[in-house]
């Protein structure tokens, strides 16, 4: 068991934690971020991909809307490599309340969100796939955001300022000395190895798990869990974010992200922070709602589905204790446990949006600094991040590279244009740490295209085995885990095209490879 000591320990490798460790490092504090799985495997890897303009919240929750438009502007400036300026449309159809657009336009004006009224003809010239049944339509500065790239951008920048990151380490206990939290016990979730990190202050950015983490210090943070499902269609369908202009409901939004178009979402209250179920009615609802705005999309090829859990936290002073789902405000809270519970050394940040992660980090780190009597102010809004050096996710870059590179190396994942040198480099970056194929997926988008790893899984496993000099048995198990993980996200979408695709994939695994014989049939366990 080893111990180390830092100024601040950040728990959670989502957008908020990543922005926080960057902020802390910039302010000259010795900070380390710990994450139980890989970066962006919590809510931040299971969201919709929308850089909010605030339009979605502006009528019911103007405070969040204002935060969104401010942060939207800032993120476009500081993490441009992770954002595509698609612009957004809010589209009303005859099925939507006729009095809503006027209310919404007024609320946008009050919140400082620039909207531009256009004609249905203009909208359809911009997005020909839109329905002809448009009663009102506005342009708004929405965007698409690759959360994986953004988080890696924050992390790389944090490292440049001396920040540290430890993935696959779970906080299993918080160390209390009297009225203070002074550190945490951690466990390596892959090897079971334990270690301790002492910290003057702990920042709890554990998203839906932040109630669990606070509980480790004997403190009570009540979280409501609100599950939402999303579906990626295999082409973009639209090049602009399309929102339904109505009070926020299911299936309102289409976001073009990279090569796909993400549809969603639903809102289901659940008991668990990691309830990632997707029920059949959710799939139907999302497709049918999207079809009302983009007719025909329902019959398109659905590539993959996933679900995320929104941690909803209503501070007691808000006096709105019974609100559920979309009625809970989407603004965030920073809980100073010294002030609230008389326990020093712990700050919790919860709620908000991916779009507002930098602001959430700023406010939380302000409180941390107060506790540490550290006076350097936040400067994260000022400087442009250098970008993701290792593996940008953009397909067009990759195509360019393949077509113009001198020796691009073999194409391993044809859907996402991942090459052998890219894989080898990504594997090497883990040093002597174990690497799962799913880690490489998040690093490179391996297996995230239409065939969902049918062809690349075997190839990537072979390359992994060579690079790590591991046994065939371990490699086969890794292959098995990976194809099963990919299966989980197509399971809700098995009809038509994707059903046929899965048949082909299953045929490869069972007949061509005989993977089912070799890999012990066990559920990949995460705990």
């Amino acid at each position: 068991m080893s111990a180390q000591s830092v100024d601040v320990l950040v728990i959670g490798g989502g957008a908020t934690g990543a922005a926080a460790v960057y902020d802390l490092a910039r302010r000259g504090l010795r900070a380390i971020l710990v994450e139980q799985h890989d970066l962006a495997t919590g809510t931040s890897g299971r969201y919709h991909g929308l850089l909010h303009s605030g339009g979605r919240y502006v009528v019911r929750d103007p405070e969040t809307a204002r935060e969104c438009i401010d942060e939207n502007t800032i993120l476009r400036r500081i993490v441009p490599f992770s954002i595509e300026d698609t612009g957004g449309l809010f589209v009303a159809t005859p099925a939507d309340p006729a009095d809503f657009p006027a209310k919404w336009v007024q609320a946008c004006a009050d919140a400082g969100i620039p909207v531009e009224a256009i004609t249905p003809a203009q909208a359809r010239a911009q997005e020909p796939a839109l329905t002809s049944q448009i009663t009102a339509v506005y342009r708004i500065p929405d965007g698409a955001c690759d959360g994986f790239d953004m988080i890696h951008g924050f992390i790389e920048a944090a490292r440049a300022f001396g920040g540290d990151v430890l993935i696959y380490h779970r906080v299993t206990g918080l160390i209390r000395e009297g009225d203070a939290v002074v550190g945490a016990h951690l466990e390596d979730t892959r090897t079971g190895e334990k270690r301790t990190i002492y910290a003057t202050c702990v920042l709890n950015a554990a998203g839906p798990w932040c109630g669990v983490v606070a509980g480790l210090a004997g403190l009570d943070v009540k979280i409501k869990f609100d599950r939402g499902a999303m579906i990626a269609m295999n082409t973009r369908w639209v090049n602009t974010v399309v929102n339904r202009l109505r009070p926020a409901s299911d299936g309102d939004i289409l976001v073009p992200v990279g090569t796909v178009c993400v549809l969603g979402t639903t809102s289901v209250i659940t008991e668990q922070p990691d309830d990632y179920r997707i029920e059949a009615w959710e799939v139907s609802k999302i497709l049918n709602d999207a079809d009302a705005v983009v007719p025909g999309i329902r019959l398109g090829r659905a590539l993959r589905a996933w679900a995320g859990v929104r941690p909803l936290y209503e501070p007691p002073e808000a006096g709105n204790g019974d609100a559920i789902g979309r009625d809970v405000k989407r603004t965030f809270s920073v809980i100073d446990h010294q002030q609230r519970d008389g326990v020093r050394g712990l700050v919790t940040v919860v709620g908000g949006k991916l779009t507002t992660c930098r602001l959430m980090a700023e406010k939380a780190v302000d409180v941390v600094c107060q506790q540490l009597s550290h006076t350097r102010p936040c400067t994260t809004a000022a400087e442009v991040l250098p970008g993701v050096k290792t593996n940008p996710h953009r397909l067009d870059h990759r195509l360019h590279h393949l077509e113009h590179g001198e020796t691009p190396g073999e194409l391993i994942c044809e859907c996402e244009m991942v090459t052998r040198p890219q894989l080898e480099k990504a594997i090497a970056a883990y040093g002597d740490q174990p690497v799962a194929l799913d880690d490489l997926r998040r690093d490179l988008r391996l297996g995230m295209g239409p065939c969902q790893a049918g062809f690349c899984a075997y190839r990537a496993a072979g390359i992994l085995q060579q690079a790590k000099k591991q046994s065939s048995a371990d490699t086969t198990r890794a292959l098995h885990d990976f194809v099963n993980e990919r299966y989980r996200g197509v399971r809700p979408l098995l009809w038509g095209h994707q059903l046929r695709q899965l048949y082909l994939d299953e045929m490869i695994y069972r007949r061509t490879l005989g993977l089912d014989q070799l890999a012990a049939p066990e559920e990949p366990s995460h705990d």
């Binding site: 059949a280 799939v283 139907s284 497709l287 329902r298 393949l402 020796t407 691009p408 190396g409 073999e410 194409l411 391993i412 044809e414 090459t419 052998r420 062809f455 075997y458 190839r459 496993a461 072979g462 390359i463 085995q465 060579q466 046994s471 065939s472 048995a473 490699t475 086969t476 292959l479 098995h480 194809v483 099963n484 299966y487 399971r491 098995l494 009809w495 038509g496 059903l499 046929r500 048949y503 082909l504 299953e506 045929m507 490869i508 695994y509 069972r510 007949r511 061509t512 490879l513 005989g514 993977l515 089912d516 014989q517 070799l518 890999a519 049939p521 559920e523």
Partner: protein, 440 residues
């Protein structure tokens, strides 16, 4: 047979009389191809129409009849069929299994794509996969069948290519060793002229049609031969000169060389398809690949013709018999939608579905679930022992339409190890019944 070229205006289709029997086969998988060839041999006028090639161009290429049989495969099939009267094997009858397979093997031999079995005892082969698992089909293309490990206790050498993405011999060798099979892996450089980054199996196979390219490989392998008894390669050993390539390597290396099926597309399936097409065309069958059959044209309980989609206008072709070999869920013979509806698009025949609401009963929660996914076994058409589709009450729906191959319910083509056997047996039975052949 007559191509009327346009749709007659009245509700009735007046097909000019022609001589002979018109057999229309829909689907160009193993079942459709065998049915077409059988019908040609029986003297019928055959038209094979398919939207695309069937599964043989993506499967490993071998013929699974009853993979799990430990000894006599046909005896096992017979025993199994006796216990499962609704299984396609029971419906087709074990005679059809034997004759279908024999007739396929004869045909394959004739076109120069020989398939081999362990003829002496009728047992399954033991073949290795790219991952180092053992599969046990009954027959396989010659190059693949040469890898049979039955009674083999010596040493294997598995050969991969540096810079070729589709085969990782170390992975296979390691897994084989775990199963007590002595296997070693080496890699050699690709023959000159191989383009690097997206080298498909077919391109490599075309290169290896050339003696020079093969010599470059042979030269690199020779120093590694001590203690080696058999040499495995990915299944890219030649395209047009495949058999020459195989014997050239075996001779030069002084040991039997064999092939291991690669990721799709499957070269053996591609060669088989092309050569069968040629065989059919030379015998004046019409072969239309790339065209969808839109619907059957019915007169009461008979199908008198089919309408085929084509650029410009659709065509209508007369039929005395129709063999529906459209291949189940994978190849489009059965369609599905988000609500859980399942349908057969050409004749709108009733499709069996798994129990449960919507799509809820279709798939298990793990991809490689030991039992396989219910959808594969439960979805499909029911037929009688003549291969005629049945309605809900169990009565034949149409007099002259026969459904064969993957389209049928009652087996899981991915887990039961009998997919090709069923394709061949049911195709054989359908043609034999339709044309009144005696041998059944």
């Amino acid at each position: 047979m007559t191509d009327t070229g346009k749709t007659p205006s009245s509700g009735q289709y007046a097909f000019p009389r022609t001589q002979g029997t018109d057999v229309i086969v829909i689907g160009a998988g193993l079942a459709g191809l065998l049915a077409a060839a059988k019908a040609v041999r029986a003297g019928a006028k055959v038209r094979l129409i398919a939207q695309g090639w069937g599964q043989q161009i993506v499967t490993p290429g071998w013929i699974s009849v009853c993979d799990r049989a430990d000894d006599d495969v046909i005896a096992e099939v017979r025993g199994f069929a006796a216990l499962h009267p609704d299984h396609p094997y029971a419906l087709a009858g074990d005679d059809a299994v034997v004759r279908g397979l024999a007739s396929f093997c004869r045909l394959a031999e004739e076109i120069g794509e020989p398939y081999e079995q362990r003829t002496k005892d009728g047992h399954n082969l033991r073949l290795i996969t790219m991952l180092g698992a053992i599969q046990t089909p009954l027959a396989a293309p010659q190059g693949i069948a040469h890898g049979d490990l039955t009674g083999f206790s010596e040493s294997l050498l598995l050969v991969g290519f540096n810079g070729w993405r589709d085969f990782y011999p170390e992975m296979a060798a390691g897994n084989l060793q775990q199963q007590g099979i002595n296997a070693r892996a080496i890699r050699v450089d690709l023959p000159a002229g191989a383009r690097g980054w997206d080298l498909y199996p077919a391109e490599l196979a075309l290169l290896l049609d050339q003696v020079d390219a093969r010599n470059m490989i042979i030269h690199q392998i020779k120093p590694h031969l001590s203690g080696v008894d058999k040499i495995g390669f990915p299944a890219v050993l030649g395209m047009d000169q495949h058999l020459e390539a195989l014997s050239h390597l075996s001779e030069q290396l002084g040991r039997p060389c064999f092939e291991i099926p690669t990721l799709p597309p499957s070269l053996s399936g591609t060669r088989l398809s092309q050569k069968l097409r040629g065989w059919l065309l030379r015998r004046r069958a019409r072969v239309q690949i790339g065209h969808p059959v839109l619907r059957g044209i019915m007169q009461e309980r008979r199908c008198v013709g089919v309408e085929v989609g084509a650029l410009g206008h659709n065509n209508i072709f007369h039929a005395d018999h129709v063999i529906l070999a459209t291949g189940g869920l994978y190849n489009g013979g059965i369609q599905s939608d988000e609500t859980g509806r399942l349908w057969e698009p050409v004749f709108n025949l009733p499709v069996m579905a798994p129990p449960g609401e919507g799509r809820s009963g279709w798939y298990e929660d793990r991809l490689l679930h030991e039992q396989g996914h219910p959808i594969h076994r439960l979805v499909g058409l029911r037929v009688d022992s003549c291969m005629r589709p049945l309605d809900a009450s169990g009565a034949p729906m149409l007099e002259n339409v026969y459904a064969v191959g993957h389209l049928l319910a009652g087996f899981n083509p991915l887990t039961d190890g009998c997919a090709e056997g069923i394709a061949l047996a049911t195709a054989y039975k359908a043609i034999a019944t339709a044309l009144g052949l005696k041998k059944i």
